[in-house]
């Protein structure tokens, strides 16, 4: 089970004055069972990239392999629908896709499309809603009368109810309050650890990358700039400078202390570890 891009390019509105190449010769392989962050500036092609993962966009050149599906420029794969069940894609601001009268029905919409019976779909919906922390008392309410954060949870539950092997999230915490964003990231972490789902997250938040992700892919101007482990990534000060990325606070604090001769280990990535290490040095 793997996801592999081979020389994938994608051009929007080909052969018109609006022509725009969003992806340029992408070679990329995502490891199964990991949480990978996809980062890059606005307009770098991140969203275009993730829309290839479940066949919403088909490459204009090159090919990609997603599990058992081979998608290439000249060959449209059959059974794309099945692929969409296996790779759950959560769009930016997914709350705009809610439409059913009740929350339970909306979340059950996905499984029902993939031929689950009414009963199975409801059961899966309840499971997913529980997972995202929506209380039973909400089940019969309209999704449109909730707050933005709650709507987002329901939309994500709508994807999780399909029980995909891979969950792809396009800026899932954008516009959420810090508390909501944190519990959202913790949910994805749990999905990975407890349910063994492969998770890809498009994000701008370096703190989240450091805390929750294992691998990181940097996209720049439609090409893969680097693909490495999160730890290695935040140690490469030169690369971070090149990409104009401000490292997370913990890393900056550690680097500043090291400059003053603290000699702290590169392995340290979270605040608790850093505190312990400092205390050890000082005492």
């Amino acid at each position: 089970m793997s996801i592999k891009f081979e020389k994938v390019s994608y051009t929007y509105s080909e052969n018109t004055p609006y022509q725009y190449q969003a992806l340029n010769n992408i070679d990329l392989e995502f490891a199964a069972g990991k949480i990978t962050a996809i980062i890059g500036k606005t307009g770098s092609g991140k969203s275009t990239l993730v829309q290839h993962l479940n066949g919403l966009l088909l490459p204009t050149a090159g090919k990609l392999q997603v599990m058992d599906w081979e998608i290439s420029a000249d060959k449209k794969p059959s059974k794309l629908k099945k692929l969409r069940k296996e790779v759950g894609l959560v769009f930016q601001f997914p709350e705009y896709q809610l439409f059913e009268e009740t929350i339970l029905k909306d979340v059950a919409f996905g499984p029902k499309n993939f031929n689950a019976t009414e009963k199975e779909a409801k059961a899966k919906a309840k499971e997913a809603l529980k997972l995202v922390g929506i209380d039973e008392s909400y089940y019969e309410k309209s999704p449109l009368e909730l707050s933005g954060g709650q709507k987002r949870r329901i939309a994500i539950a709508g994807i999780l109810a399909m029980d995909p092997k891979v969950v792809v999230l396009d800026e899932p915490t954008a516009g959420l309050d810090p508390q909501g964003a944190k519990s959202m990231m913790e949910l994805f972490y749990r999905l990975n650890k407890e349910f063994n789902k492969t998770i890809l997250i498009v994000t701008h938040n370096m703190e989240d990358v450091l805390q929750y992700c294992e691998d990181v892919v940097v996209i720049k101007d439609g090409s893969v700039k680097t693909h490495t482990s999160v730890k290695a990534f935040f140690q490469d000060t030169q690369l971070l400078d090149d990409l104009e990325i401000l490292p997370p606070n913990v890393i900056r604090l550690k680097n500043a202390l090291n400059e003053q001769g603290f000699n702290l280990s590169d392995e340290i990535v979270d605040l608790d570890e850093l505190t312990t290490a400092i205390v050890k040095k000082v005492l």
Binding site: P17, R84, P94, F99, G110
Partner: protein, 266 residues
């Protein structure tokens, strides 16, 4: 959906793009009237030639115009079938068993087809070569004399320009929601009738919700920026008629007069 070209502006640099929007709007109106003059196939040939010349000068690709006409094809096919079944005058062209196709049915359909396609091309020419902003400015300027009889010209122009402005946005939004729902297993191409209705519902409800929200936001933003309906406003861009604009008006009006004369003589 990606190929939706109706009402889309194409940023090219051509003689037609440079024309004054007022000249273009008036010429379009005159041409539309000309199309509805029953001047026979010779008249349509003349109009088609003029339009083709304009298309050539506009630097628009023919494929772009064909795409703009595409949504009409289904309707035109439907019309052909109805006409073949209903119209029973003229002489028999083809006889298949007991079913007879009459000449009037074919000719009348052909007339309507030509008229509609010419109309689509002319309106597409206007919207593809004129920025929405210029279009509004032109409309407002043309309607200005009617302000005296209480026509809210600026408001109408503003409404039209907002509508035009939001066509691409709404298309984008539709695509986004379609893709989001496709990710949830919606298949607009296949499936039973009931599933298809569900699929369309899953598209329309979110679209309406966000359209209303957008309208609300826009109204607030306009109010914050001090928009007052009916207030006197100045313009950064001033419209000016050049020789080329007079030529365009002369040619289009000349064509109209020619066709009227032709019709009377016939």
């Amino acid at each position: 959906m990606n190929n939706f070209t109706l009402g889309k502006y194409m940023p090219l640099d051509s003689a037609i793009h440079k024309l004054d929007p007022r000249a273009k709007i008036l010429a379009m109106l005159v041409m539309l009237i000309a199309i509805f003059i029953p001047s026979g196939f010779e008249g349509y040939l003349l109009i088609s030639v003029v339009i083709l010349v304009v298309v050539y000068f506009s630097k628009l690709k023919l494929s772009f115009l064909v795409k703009a006409m595409k949504p009409m094809f289904f309707m035109l096919g439907f019309l052909l079938v109805i006409n073949l079944l209903v119209i029973k005058t003229g002489y028999a062209l083809v006889t298949i068993g007991s079913f007879v196709i009459y000449s009037d049915a074919v000719f009348q359909t052909l007339y309507i087809v030509i008229r509609l396609l010419l109309m689509v091309i002319i309106t597409t020419l206007l919207t593809a070569t004129t920025k929405p902003f210029d279009l509004t400015l032109g409309l407002e300027s043309i309607m200005a004399p009617f302000k005296k009889i209480g026509l809210p010209a600026s408001e109408i122009a503003m409404m039209i320009s907002i509508a035009l402005r939001f066509i691409p946005t709404l298309i984008e939004e539709t695509q986004r929601i379609m893709q989001a729902q496709a990710s949830r297993g919606v298949d607009l191409q296949e499936g039973k009738i009931k599933e298809k209705i569900m699929a369309i519902l899953s598209l329309i409800v979110p679209l309406f919700v966000s359209a209303f929200q957008r309208a609300d936001d826009l109204a607030n933003a306009m109010e914050v920026k001090g928009y007052i309906p009916g207030a006197k406003r100045t313009r950064y861009k001033q419209l000016k008629f050049y020789l080329r604009d007079y030529i365009v008006l002369l040619v289009s009006n000349g064509l109209l007069i020619l066709l009227i004369v032709w019709m009377i003589i016939k």
